[in-house]
Every structure is written in C-alpha cells, then in structure tokens.
C-alpha cells in the first residue's frame, strides 16, 4: 500500500507539472466540443430533405406529422442526387426518401422502412433521425389501428383513421417536444469528444511511462523494498484516476456549460469507470511496447484518432452502413459511444447499456491483463 500510495503521489505531481497534458486532456476536448457543437449543433429546427415517391393517404399523413414537428423543417426534392448534394453542402442535415411501397408495407403488417441519409454525425442529424423514426412509428400505428377498428366496428376507414389521428396527435406533439427539449446541440459532440480524448490523452500519457522506463527509474524503484506487482498497480491506478478525472471534468463541462443531459447518473458512472479502466489498460500496453516516447506519442495519436473514427467519435456508426458499423466495434470507443447514445438519446438505464458496458469491460480485462503482464516483465528487466 505504501508504495502504491507513493506511486500515485508521484503520478499526481508529474501530471500537475505537465502542461501538454492540460492541453490534451482539458483544453482540446472542450474547444473541439464547442467548435463542433456550434458549427453543427443548433436548437433551430433541423432542415431535412424529403423525396416522396407516392401520394397515398399514409404517405400524406407521414408528411403532415413531420411538418407539424417543431424540431425539423422540410425541404422537398424531386430527385435523390440533388438531395444528396444538398446534404453534402450542409443545406439539409439529413434526407428522407419515402418509398413507393410504404403503404403496402404497413398494410402487410410489416415494420415499415424508409431511407434516411445522414452525413457525418452531428446532433441535428441525430435529432432528425429520431423525429423521422418516431413519425413513422406513429403513422403506421395509426393506420394499423384504424384498419382493425374499421373491420371490427364496421365503420369507414376514413372515420376510423380520423379517430386514430385524434389519439395520436398528442403523442406526436409529445415526441417533438421531448426531442427538442432534451437534446442540446452538443449532445453528440460532448460524449464523442470525451471518448476520443480520454483515449488520446491516456495513449499519449504512455510516453511519460516510456521516459520513466528509459531513465531507469523503475530499476531504482525495484531496488527499494517494493514488489513489482505494487508498481504495476500503482502505475495503472494513476492512469485510471487520470482518465476518470478527465471524464468527470468533461461531463461537468458538458452538463453545466453545454446543457447536455447525460442521463442516468448511475449508468453514466459505471460507463465512465469501465471506459477509464479500458483507456488505462491501452495506455500501459502502449507504454510497454513503444521504444521511445516519440514513438508512443505518434502511435497513441494515430491509434486514438483512427479507433475514434471507427468507434463513432467523429460520426455515428449508424450512418456508415451496417457492415462498417459492426466492424467499428473492434474499437472499444464504439461500445462506449453506443452506451452514451442510449443514455443521452434514449434515456436508457444501466440495464439497457449493460451489453455495451460488458463489452467495454471485456476490452478492459484483456488490456489490463496483457499490459500488466508486459509491464511486470518490462520493469523487472529494465
């Protein structure tokens, strides 16, 4: 315990003296969070493009529900290339194509699907997706309910539909209000930069470990009455506390300054602990394999950004296609982002994010076991 306490103490002292660390851990993420949030996030209705390929009753109803939403504004297009072009140019944040067979899908009792095109993930695009998904659900429920009521009560479909619409109008308003009230423009950029920078910071911190190793400090530590396992625990705990400190700081900034609702505090706490553990393990592993501090910084930065991209820290994995989204889950960042999206956008609790947390925990256990074994080997052999 004495040696672990000493290692934590020296880790704190070194972190306090490291100006680079303050930049990477605190300044950069906050600046990027603000920048991306201001550029791409907004409380104004998200402009979405719409292509209508049918003029049936249910399609008209879907359009009217979307038009009535305070969270989106509709821009109509005749062809897909033009809408895609406007999405790329940022004129609309997302595009929706209501297919010709939308009504027949509902009639057949299927879960209807429409095409949603969204660019690099920003909060408005996610808001648009949420609104469109909710609207489709409302309209298809109305239609199904009206069909059944018409058959059962021997009334006309129009009448049954009018009754169903009365019931769902309040639900539709609630959806729009809920979405517009809960989502800060920084709701995606805050957690994504948190995840991105926790890994970049921790992977970068491995350079300090390489320096320590090269300076022969570990030899001197082990010449003291200290067990190698204490050095391993002390080192990893130091990194863990650094990560958790950064997480808490960025969550507080996100909540207080940027108005992001991170959802259930218990679930958030569990997620941050597992995320920090994972980052500490990755940092230690890199510290034990890098040959120089320069190499550690280079690998750490590239790996942090690349895995961040794969993991949805630059854009949601939902927009890159199912195969790529699945592949992205080779990065722990993807699991962390999935959990954050569930917490923030779906109001999920610990139960709903448990699969993501367990996956992240599995990454953590693997990284901690491999890195602590390597660390023990490295410090015992200079």
């Amino acid at each position: 315990m004495r040696s672990i306490h000493a290692l934590l103490w020296v880790g704190r002292r070194r972190a306090a003296k490291d100006q680079r660390l303050a930049g990477v851990a605190i300044l950069f993420p906050v600046v990027i969070m603000l920048l991306v949030g201001v550029l791409f996030g907004s409380n104004h209705p998200a402009p979405i493009g719409l292509i209508i390929k049918s003029n049936d009753q249910i399609t008209q109803r879907l359009v009217s529900v979307l038009e009535s939403s305070n969270s989106v504004s509709l821009h109509y297009y005749n062809n897909l290339p033009q809408m895609q072009d406007d999405i790329l140019r940022g004129r609309v944040v997302a595009g929706v194509e209501i297919p010709q067979n939308f009504m027949s899908q509902v009639d057949e009792g299927k879960n209807p699907s429409i095409d949603l095109i969204a660019p690099a993930g920003q909060a408005p695009a996610i808001t648009a997706r949420t609104i469109v998904t909710a609207a489709v659900a409302v309209v298809s429920s109305e239609w199904t309910a009206a069909l059944q009521a018409s058959k059962k009560n021997h009334i006309s479909l129009d009448k049954a539909l009018a009754e169903a619409e009365k019931l769902t109008n309040s639900a539709e308003t609630l959806i729009s209000k809920k979405v517009s009230q809960q989502q800060s423009p920084f709701s995606y950029t805050a957690p994504s930069n948190l995840v991105l920078f926790v890994f970049i910071t921790l992977l970068g911190a491995s350079s300090a470990f390489v320096d320590t190793r090269k300076l022969g400090v570990f030899s001197r530590i082990l010449a003291a009455p200290v067990r190698p396992i204490s050095v391993v625990i002390g080192h990893m705990l130091g990194l863990f506390f650094l990560a958790i400190g950064q997480c808490v700081f960025l969550v507080v900034i996100g909540r207080v300054m940027l108005g992001v609702n991170f959802g259930d505090p218990l679930a958030l706490g569990v997620l941050l602990v597992v995320l920090s553990l994972c980052a500490a393990g990755a940092s230690t592993l890199l510290g034990t394999v890098a040959k120089s501090s320069e190499q550690a910084i280079a690998i750490g930065t590239v790996a942090g950004i690349a895995l961040g991209m794969l993991g949805g820290c630059m854009w949601p994995t939902s927009i890159v296609g199912p195969a790529m989204a699945e592949f992205g889950h080779i990065a722990p960042q993807a699991w962390a982002m999935d959990a954050f999206v569930k917490l923030i956008y779906n109001g999920a609790g610990i139960g709903q994010i448990l699969p993501d947390v367990l996956a992240l925990l599995a990454f953590s256990v693997i990284l901690v076991v491999i890195s602590s074994t390597r660390l023990r080997h490295v410090i015992s052999n200079k």
Partner: protein
C-alpha cells in the same frame, strides 16, 4: 587521503556475494564472482565497460535474477523477490533514475515514501541528504534545470535518503565535470568514514585508488584480482619510482643514488633521474639526505607508485578504458 574509520565490528559482512553466475543467452556476464564488504569499508569494483560490473551489482541489489550463487545483506539472503533486505541497500544506478520534471525535493520525497519515510522524518532526511551532496540551495529546482554533475549528486542523494547500511554506486561520475566529480568522491568518502559500507563500480582507476579500501579487478565476468591497492601492486611485483631533478648535475646525482641501500635501478632520463626502489615514501628522507650531503641542488622530487592501471594491464593485457 583516507580518514580513520569510525568502526568495523568484525561481525557479519554488510554484503556477501558468493559464487554469483549470470548468463545472457550463451554469454556469461558474471562468472563465479565472490566478494564481501564489511561495515565502513569502501569496496571498488574496477573494470572496463562490459566487464560485468553492472550485472554484478544488479544481482547484489536484488534487481536481477542470478543463475546461481548467493547474496546476503547483513546476513539476510537477498534475491530478486526479496523485500526486507532491500531496506538496507541504497542503490545509485548508472542512469539518472530521477523524474526530470520534478524538483530535487519532490524526487527525494517520492523515494523516501517508497522506503516508508514520512512526515517530519522524511523532510528532515531530505534536507540532510541534500546538504550532504551540496544541493540544499537547489532543493526546489527541477532536476532538468541541473547541470550533469548536479543531476548525479541528486541521484546519489536518492540512494542515501533512508540511511542504508550499504551504498551501491554504479559508475556515479560518468560524464561529470571535475568539480562535481570531486564533490561526489568527497561525499562517498565521508559516508564510508561514517561507517557506511560502499560498493563502488568504476572504470576510472584514480577514483578506485582514492576511495577504496579494497579493490576487485573485474574482467570478462570474473574477479581477476582483489585486495588493497598495495596488495594488488605487490602481486604485480612493480617498484615505486622517485623522479628527481638536480639542476645540471644529474650525472653526479645518479652516481650518488646508485650507492643508496635498497635502490634497484637508477635511470637518467634527460635532466631527470628516475630511481626504482621499493616503498619509496619510506626511503625519501635518505634520498634527500644523500643529495644534500653531496651538495647536489635538488629542484624537484616526485614519488610515482605503481597504479591499478598497470596492475589491470598486467592481469588482462588490456587498458582499463579499452
């Protein structure tokens, strides 16, 4: 110059290494090395780079697992898994094993905590230790702002903090300016005189000669000779030399000196006379007296004793700095 030792208990050696063997792949870095160090004794391990000095002290400090042999510190067996015997050792590695971005006092505070020091005791020891190595006025400055010599002294301070009974220094003066080297040697001498056992590795013959009570000459993983400087020189059979200048009368001077008792050989080198004689310092009065009696004007006189460099060369056929 050596100062009288405080004590030597004559009981257990502080460090006892017996038949140490350590191989790296097929190369034997340490090959059956045995030595001991008593309380208040400064033991020098002299040898060229790659001779096995660092490997030996890494084993002696419990940092490296030995293939065979035994290490005892104050009678307690030490291996790479031992914890308690390490309390008695102060290790000063060849590398600058300090955090450069932290101050000298913060570095010492950290290492003090590792040895269980805390509170006033720790702060007191930090000040005492920095005083010993002459860095008290720089206690709050970052190590990275220190000169090479000051860094080395801070490195030594970290090894002294917990008052070890054995101080192990691995080439502590490499790359150090003469002033700092002198400060380091004085500090080590003082500690040895205060009763601390010192294991000092170096490839600087002058340091071994100045500091060490006994010297082990190590080459290719083996101790090829061991003893006091005098014993080692006597093993070699070399004689002391007295270099004398008698202005303009060296021929006459040489004749007079040849007749002195104990003189083995007199060589005239230019205007100088070189007299080969055992225990030259003891014979100095009779040499001076003979020159004065014969009215030979003595202008300079120097005693050149055979050194460890010569011993090393004779034993290994190589220069120390090869």
């Amino acid at each position: 110059m050596k100062i009288e030792k405080v004590s030597g208990t004559g009981s257990l050696p502080v460090l006892e290494c017996s038949h140490l063997v350590k191989s790296f792949a097929s190369r034997k870095a340490v090959n059956d090395i045995s030595f001991h160090i008593d309380q208040g004794e400064c033991y020098g391990m002299l040898g060229p780079n790659g001779a096995g000095k660092t490997t030996t002290i890494s084993i002696a400090c419990g940092l490296l697992q030995k293939d065979s042999g035994e290490v005892k510190v104050n009678g307690k067996e030490l291996n790479h898994k031992s914890i308690l015997p390490k309390r008695d050792i102060g290790y000063v590695p060849q590398d600058l094993a300090l955090y450069p971005e932290l101050s000298a006092s913060d570095n010492l505070r950290f290492f003090g905590k590792l040895y269980g020091l805390s509170g006033r005791d720790l702060e007191g020891r930090i000040n005492e230790t920095l005083e010993t190595v002459g860095l008290i006025d720089r206690r709050d400055d970052r190590i990275e702002s220190f000169s090479g010599g000051m860094k080395r002294r801070a490195n030594i301070a970290a090894g002294l903090l917990h008052k070890p009974s054995l101080l192990v220094l691995d080439e502590p003066t490499v790359g150090v300016d003469p002033q700092s080297r002198n400060a380091i040697l004085e500090a080590v001498q003082l500690l040895s005189n205060e009763g601390m056992a010192v294991l000092y590795t170096t490839h600087y013959m002058e340091e071994a000669e100045r500091l060490c009570d006994r010297v082990g000459i190590i080459d290719k993983g083996q101790i090829v000779a061991e003893g006091t400087r005098r014993e080692l020189v006597e093993q070699l059979g070399s004689l002391d030399r007295i270099r004398i200048s008698v202005s303009g009368m060296h021929r006459e001077g040489a004749e007079v000196l040849r007749k002195l008792q104990g003189v083995q050989e007199v060589i005239e080198i230019g205007d100088e006379i070189e007299v080969l004689i055992p225990q030259a310092r003891l014979k100095l009065p009779s040499v001076i007296e003979a020159l004065i009696e014969n009215h030979l004007p003595l202008t300079s006189l120097e005693v050149v004793e055979p050194n460890l460099e010569a011993v090393f060369l004779a034993l290994t056929g190589r220069e120390l700095r090869d």
